[in-house]
């Protein structure tokens, strides 16, 4: 009896062994491919290639978009993801990674950076600065402008005087 049961189970399990549908002969996203010297199926773009969308990207990176509440919201979200680990949530360069020994970046609340044009921040995100790596691969041009707008808001927040926001006067004790 046992022999029969075991045989039936063995036969049933035999049906599971065909992997040809499970693992099809194609590459997954960024799959390994020994065909190429770098071992990746994702091929680097040949030098000098111009993508169809390049013109649109260029357009997005010049001139800066109008500053709206939505842009600032987006900027805050992106800033908190990509910049706050080092520059801190408030831009005072007291982020967690700096606490763990990363070189301390300058605070945004210095006269030099307050005077720097918006384009300067955009370029630092795109190309990096000193030991800071570029973020061009991770932050799209639209998002870079959003971050710049938010950095400006951070700078103002540390310098704000009550006279700048007369409505706030009534709400304060």
């Amino acid at each position: 009896m046992k022999v029969i049961a075991v045989t039936i189970i063995a036969l049933l399990l035999g049906g599971c062994a065909d992997q040809s549908m499970r693992q099809q002969k194609r590459y997954g996203t960024f799959g390994a491919a020994d065909l190429w010297p770098d071992g990746s199926s994702a091929r680097p773009i040949p030098r000098g290639t111009v993508a169809q969308t390049d013109a649109a990207w260029q357009a997005a990176s010049t001139p800066p978009p109008a500053v709206t509440a939505a842009l600032l919201q987006r900027g805050r979200e992106r800033y908190n993801i990509y910049c706050s680990p080092c520059h801190g949530l408030d831009g005072k360069a007291d982020g967690m990674i700096v606490e763990r020994g990363f070189p301390k970046p300058p605070s945004y609340h210095t006269d030099r950076l307050r005077a720097a044009p918006a384009r300067y921040f955009f370029d630092v995100i795109t190309k990096g600065y000193g030991v800071m790596y570029p973020y061009a691969a991770r932050v799209t041009p639209e998002d870079r402008w959003a971050i710049v707008a938010y950095v400006r808001a951070l700078q103002m927040s540390q310098q704000a005087r009550l006279a700048d926001v007369p409505e706030a006067r009534e709400k304060l004790p």
């Binding site: 009896m1 029969i4 049961a5 039936i8 189970i9 049933l12 399990l13 599971c16 549908m21 499970r22 693992q23 099809q24 194609r26 997954g28 996203t29 960024f30 390994a32 770098d38 071992g39 990746s40 994702a42 908190n80 993801i81 990509y82 680990p85 967690m96 990674i97 763990r100 020994g101 990363f102 070189p103 030991v131 800071m132 790596y133 691969a137 991770r138």
Partner: protein, 217 residues
């Protein structure tokens, strides 16, 4: 003359009963085995070229998932960080750590690090991260407490039944969009009302979500 031995009757009965029952038991057993955590490879950690720890980087340092998994909001594939992403920090800290040697060689030789996959759906299943993120299904709903994992492991079974359980009625799993990446987010006590509200707000129609062509295309 005696052709049959006295027990012959019972042997036949048992054999007949067994012939009727065994296939069901076998099928049940096969199903139980195939959906057991052992077969779905849940909670197994894999050897990785670098023992990358989410516990350290997410739980400890508080990095957002998107710092490394950049395409998760926009694409099917969540994206694994390229070597440059590790080097944004490790070019300056832990620069001599033996553990990180493969990262440095990867950058020097321009060869991507080969991470071993932890989750791997069969090739005939189509899964897309972006739609789930846009419709308020959080990372922790499917991947569990990643921020506590020293080595990444798969928490959900990833069987078809598991996908369908949620696709039939996603309401208990829906959260506000801004909470999707928050690993410490808890469902509120009135999730039933919230779920109904979010189902409306996200314009989700579960009646089509179980069509075979949604996941097998």
């Amino acid at each position: 003359m005696q052709i049959f031995r006295p027990g012959a009757d019972s042997v036949i009965r048992v054999a007949l009963c067994a012939a009727a029952i065994v296939p069901f038991i076998a099928a049940g057993l096969a199903y139980a085995i195939s959906s057991s955590p052992y077969m779905t490879q849940q909670n197994i950690t894999r050897n990785q070229p670098v023992p990358f720890s989410h516990e350290h980087h997410v739980g400890g340092l508080g990095l957002d998932c998107r710092y490394c998994h950049t395409s998760v909001e926009k694409a099917r594939f969540a994206g694994l960080p390229p070597t440059e992403t590790c080097m944004t920090c490790h070019s300056q800290i832990w620069t001599n750590a033996e553990m990180l040697a493969p990262v440095r060689t990867s950058l020097a030789e321009n060869r991507p690090i080969r991470w071993n996959r932890v989750h791997n759906l069969p090739a005939y299943v189509y899964f897309d991260h972006s739609v789930h993120i846009a419709k308020g299904v959080g990372c922790s709903t499917c991947h569990g407490a990643v921020e506590q994992m020293k080595l990444t492991r798969q928490v959900a079974p990833l069987t078809m039944g598991w996908c369908l359980d949620c696709h039939r009625d996603p309401r208990p799993a829906l959260r506000p969009r801004e909470a999707v990446f928050d690993q410490s987010w808890q469902f509120p006590p009135n999730q039933e009302d919230e779920g109904n509200r979010l189902l409306q707000a996200y314009n989700i129609h579960p009646e089509h979500l179980t069509d075979c062509s949604v996941c097998h295309r």
